[in-house]
């Protein structure tokens, strides 16, 4: 009997691989969205290196 290129096993493997791929892409999207949400929720982002941080200044300074 000839070797069949497509065995039922391959279908199951494909289903796992595609499923995992979709989950990973979804995870990346969630982390990206969460990052955007966290950054935008906390107001303006300040650079701390060798610059004045306005939020640390006393009022009127």
């Amino acid at each position: 009997m000839a070797i069949r290129a497509e065995h039922e096993l391959h279908r199951r493997r494909l289903s796992r691989n595609v499923g995992l791929g979709v989950v990973l892409v979804g995870f990346v999207a969630v982390i990206f969205g969460l990052t955007v949400a966290k950054v935008s929720n906390n107001g303006a982002v300040e650079g701390f290196d060798h610059v004045v941080r306005p939020s640390l200044l006393e009022a009127g300074e």
């Binding site: 289903s15 969205g33 949400a37």
Partner: protein, 310 residues
Amino acid sequence: MSDATHIPQARDGEAEFGDYIALLKPRVMSLVVFTAMVGLLVAPTPVHPMAGFAAILFIAVGAGGSGALNMWWDADIDAVMRRTKSRPVPAGRVTPDQALAFGLTLSGFAIVMLALATPVFAAGLLAFPLFFYAEIYTMWLKRWTPQNIVIGGAAGAFPPMIGWAAATGGVSLESVLMFALIFMWTPPHFWALALFMRSDYDDAGVPMLTVTHGRRITRTHILAYTLLLVPVALALAFTPVGGPVYAVVALAMNALFVKGAYDIWRRDEPMSETDNFRVEKAFFRFSLLYLFAHFGALLIDALLRLAGVM
């Protein structure tokens, strides 16, 4: 014959993606997702939609992880019971080791991710029921005491509390009452199932109340727990998360639930066998509606408040 055709069907860890989804117990997860979402949305602190979505997602993943651990440990019981023998582990599509690794990974992952997405307190609150369900309930209570359902129900009652904590970072009377609502609802819900699935639990040697104390006692317990559930359900109406919609729904649902429990209590075995447990089955189905209706009503009241109607 080629080598490929010798490979046995799914006895070798070559599961489909859907088998891993089945390990997560998606039907239980739907209840977890819904109640956690309501807990999060009715909380007084607004949450960024993305953070809220991530919180519910990771609570669901955690619940799925503990479901997989439950299936790993209970594969011997599941193989005997009609209701569960086609689950991936007893059916041989996923090996026990794979289910264990899958469950542990997802549980740990969910706790870490929830800690990153929301206040750390919420992640701690998620860690507790995951441990409680997988260790205390699955490995110990389920096979040891007929009160397994009562105490084990605590794990399933946590999601709205975690959702609330994800928004507020704490616990309050409202979230404790939402917890208590599911906690008190679980025993009548499962004992009604046990009444018409008796042979399953008998065969598996699980000490359900029906097996250890008899069916008369179980019927009495269903009525008693239903009566204890009523004040808990109604009390939520008088908290800030309650409202007119919840009050009306709770009154109607609890009246019907008590009526159902009373009907079960009044019946005996010959009566139930005559109509193939019609009342018990109807009570079980109604119990699902009961819980969804209560949390749905909380959500509607929250939306009405948001819209400025109340």
